[in-house]
Symmetry: D2
Subunit: 373 residues, 4 copies
């Protein structure tokens, strides 16, 4: 039986590289050979044991690769050898949730998030893709793996925080936390025509990126009180839309307080524990405020739309792909990503590349990767 | 100087009937002679000191009456002697909030709620109406005061909880608490074509009314766990929309837990303190749930629309007007309403009627009121 | 090989009852034994040659029946012997159109309408259902065939005209033509809380039904000019929403003229030729008017929602099922339905019933049908 | 009595510069001294007699200027001497239409368009502004007249065509005609995150501007069939949204044909005569297509939002201000603008500048204008 290399969650604090059987596609399924994948903050939480997944699971939900094998019913639409992205969220298109406007909740609460959550994920040489007709998405010619690596999850999630809130032309928007998802929300505010875009973070290099992604004002919360800045810029009212992109109580509470009466808090964080909305931030419950929580939209049409933006050069996310690692070096990669050292934003993981220790990690040498571009 | 009788808030636990100068309208203002007004749960909280308003204020925000005097600029559209309702919420139509889609927040957080909150209210013989062009609403012929008494606030608020949530045809809806506002939310679910309408309360008589207002299932929470019932009716998923119409943490939390992934909690309560959304109820922040808070929509076009429904006999809210009092008997009325005794739902207060003690209170004798109908 | 009886389109003016092979389901497909089906105005147009379909096709798109056989992949969700409705429009849930918010256009323009249009339809003893996971819909216990016969098409289409237009509480709505679809639009206006509902037709018995379905005003266009009535009821402005449910230029033009500036014309008709929108009706192109065209929404969740309304007794469509025929008597049924004689609204066709000539047609004898209820 | 210079419509083909009384503001009104105004295609049609306005009217609806005098009730919010734009469309905020979501139709069909349509307009030294509280909009510091000249009408209208259609991230959009409004629609498609933006026109220089404003593909209809190009780029389906920015039957019909099933035609043109929607373009009336007509949104909050975009340097509309004229040279300006010669896009008219014949027209010498910047 053919085997493959995969990064497996063995329990809190423990991941291991294992030999696993290479998957075989059933009807409607496909197998993708992973050329590039990545690490998400949620993966770090899973590894730490803060967010629960079953032991023995292959982690990772950001797949870029090549179609290796197609199950029955897919040959009319796809070809072995095609370069594809697969969304982090893989709806089926046919269940109660998919047919009632909540495809990311496919099958039940957070159910569309399967890879590295309820089924084996992308930190492996091969990935079994369920509901492949709805999820395999060909990559337009001329785009490298690095250019599309954030499409399956980060870009889709960040933009969704802005889209869910219904940002209108000329709106005032504040985005709390400028990690990769927050930066994509900042980008989204720009992409939807916000008039004022306030980016909040504590790391100067992230605020610089925020400017590049469209922020009209940046606030380092070590130096300034974001609420004071925001009120100063909005006649004391607050923003039309605040995006919370961290997933912590303090940030949630500040963001809710930054929203004007009648405005929207759009929450993208994955929360542990409970959220508290104090009286003052909520206008006594009659301030016409809205709190929205959004899981990343998936499916191939979502992916196609985002890839069209990348292909038209209206987005360039490569500045966020700061480090490259062999998949074998996952522990180093996790350590670097979790520490937020060295200006790390996103790390690219390559199953087909042999371990080069830290050299690869520091090089951004996309050329090493045979399958990209 | 002409004077009038008015019920004034003197401090926690203390209201008094005072002689006050009768108001005179400035440009764009009108004076309405009150024929009927009412008590809201929020008034009870104000009197108890749980929700703050300035001492010396005339309370009450549910005005039905007759135009007594018109300021400059209103004579083309209105006539002295016209019967009108005035909305509880009186937007100006011209400020930042009104022009940005949040008229109930006119001028600032909760700012559209003026009567008995920031300016003198309707518990008086005469009411000064600001922004009268936007707010005076003629009553269609043939409708009595009792038939329209809930239009200025309760009906508008209750329906708004359903409208804000975007209830769709065939949706499953649960309404928590069947006081007047909750009953109007139940009515709203019916009026918007929900397929399943679960009404939750602890008082059997309120659940009976809920049936009459469109509930397809009623749950007495002393007898059954609403979450168990709701999950049983929705394949274990929860409702598309839950309305919280009480304003308490426990009810909020249950309602949020009753919402399916991708569904909406629509909150109508006035909260003191803080709201807590536990992890489990919120799908870890990625369940695509939405929490909406809504203040009652006001303005004359909102009123006109609701009056059209009453006039076409599609709504009959008179079963909710259970007791009548002279305004002089405000203390008795407050005591009865606050106690929820005797099947009280809403009490009508009549400034022009002399005190008849409890007799009037028990009679529902609308005939006593000369101006109604 | 097992055969079945089916009504086949042989060319303009010509339908025939033929013996056809009984279908066998492939993977994801099901076969339904038809207990009741019906005739739609579009079927009449097809038979007349006014709307083109391929010769040799089995017609009919309103299926009520019993699951007879299930293809691979459906046994977890469905059981042979279950009573089901199948929507007139059968989206796949997985194509470009389904994933971009236009499931009725599944696969291409009008592509979701398959039965009796691009594949064999419901005027037969057995129906092959494609994309069965998305479309088979169990009938709630206690509902007869007559009670659900309009769900697959007419009810879904009529309501959709109101839903697409975004009718709001208290809106003024006019529905032009009170055939079955128009009556369901009238019902929809009521179900969504319109304040004024003007039903227009030329047949007094249809206007009587319109009253029963929620119209607040009826206009017989032989006696009154609908525009004069509508302007009189709306302060000269016109309605917020007009529904055109006939599919003819004259009706379209009147309906567009009846819409206020900023309002919506929602078109449900199937048009031949071209539509002309004169200058005056369109506010010179800058009246902020919208013209929407809507094909009936399908899919099992849509059906489930509509069946929930029927099951809760909030809708009763049986008054529209005025005549019953054996499927063998299709020519009589078509002649009656096409002529609009005898107060005919919808005819029920029963493949399992033997021809009783006109007796059955006049009896409404649902009891004859063994499978219903 | 103080007088002023004004350009008056005397009848088809005839405009004259007249001395008129300088306006005096009543309560709620303001007088603005015009520093820069412009000519719109609709003005050309009015002068030609194709679109009717009363004889004797001062034309022009694109005002940039300085507050000269304030009527009662405005001194708290505005100051004499403030630089302002005034929207082409001036809603009151308080009438039926303003309170029912159609402020551009203020008071009745196309009623929000007052300047140069139903009341004296901006081609004059002074402009009387009605409903000034809702419409006067201060210009942010540092912006010149040229930078904001398109805000009152062209930018607002062009973007509105995209906003009304609900363009989503990654949508395919086509804009037919790249005059100033069409170019602003192209810009709007970019500003809202469209993935494919096809700009269609017959003038190469306009297509070059379209590229600069965000078009990803340009089509010169003298060289290529737009429908062939669009189908080629969209898998044969057509665009999600087509914008018609010309106001002619041929363009309308092509645009409707370019829309995919389930898509939207957003019409910005001012039409004379009638519009014809042929069968084929409309999917027989059941293709789920929508036709929207939109008048330019006005009011000060709309203006504020657009000015915020200009101030943040996300938009630069100065390339469209190709020529400058003294208001005295209105005939030359009209002739040039109407002829589409010399690469003219928009001409700036300056009441305070003396006639310099064609020199000024060719210079783009903003420096001549004392009040700008």
């Amino acid at each position: 039986m053919a085997t493959m290399k995969a990064v497996v969650f063995r329990g809190p604090g423990e991941v291991a590289i294992e030999e696993r059987p290479r998957p075989t596609p059933g009807p409607g399924e496909a197998v993708v050979r992973i050329t590039t994948t990545s690490i998400c903050t949620t993966d770090v939480r899973i590894v730490r044991g803060e967010y629960r997944v079953p032991r023995g699971l292959v982690l990772g939900h950001e797949p870029v690769g090549i179609i290796d094998e197609l199950g029955a019913g897919l040959h009319d639409d796809f070809t072995v050898g095609q370069r594809v992205v697969v969304p982090a969220i893989t709806p089926c298109g046919q269940c109660y949730y998919c047919l009632n406007g909540s495809p990311a909740q496919c099958g039940g609460t957070t159910g569309g998030w399967r890879f590295g959550h309820t089924i084996d994920g992308a930190w492996a040489e091969y990935l079994l893709v369920p509901h492949a007709a709805v999820n395999l998405t060909p990559i337009p010619d001329g785009l490298s793996d690095d250019e599309v690596l954030l499409v399956p999850h980060i870009l889709s999630a960040g933009l969704a925080g802005i889209e869910a809130a219904g940002v209108r032309i000329g709106d005032a928007v504040a985005v709390f936390a400028q990690g990769p998802t927050g930066l994509c929300a900042t980008l989204g505010a720009s992409l939807r025509g916000a008039g004022l875009i306030v980016a909040v973070d504590g790391l100067p290099e992230r605020l610089l990126l925020a400017r590049r992604f469209g922020a009209t004002t940046t606030v380092n919360f070590h130096e300034q009180d974001p609420l004071v800045v925001i009120r100063g810029l909005t006649g004391g009212r607050g923003v039309d839309v605040a995006v919370e992109a961290l997933g912590e109580q303090r940030s949630f509470e500040t963001a809710l307080g930054a929203v004007r009466a009648g405005g929207t808090l759009s929450s993208l964080g994955v929360y542990a524990g409970q959220l508290v909305a104090p009286y003052g931030t909520l206008g006594s419950g009659i301030g016409d405020k809205r709190i929205l929580t959004t899981l990343c939209p998936g499916g191939r049409e979502r992916m196609r739309r985002l890839l069209a933006l990348v292909a038209s050069r209206r987005l360039d996310l490569t500045p966020l792909v700061t480090h490259h690692f062999a998949l074998d070096d996952i522990r180093d990669a996790l350590e670097l990503f979790g520490s937020r050292r060295d200006g790390v934003m996103k790390v690219a993981l390559h199953p087909a590349v042999r371990s080069h220790d830290r050299l690869l990690g520091e090089s951004r040498a996309a050329a090493l990767v045979d399958d990209g571009a």
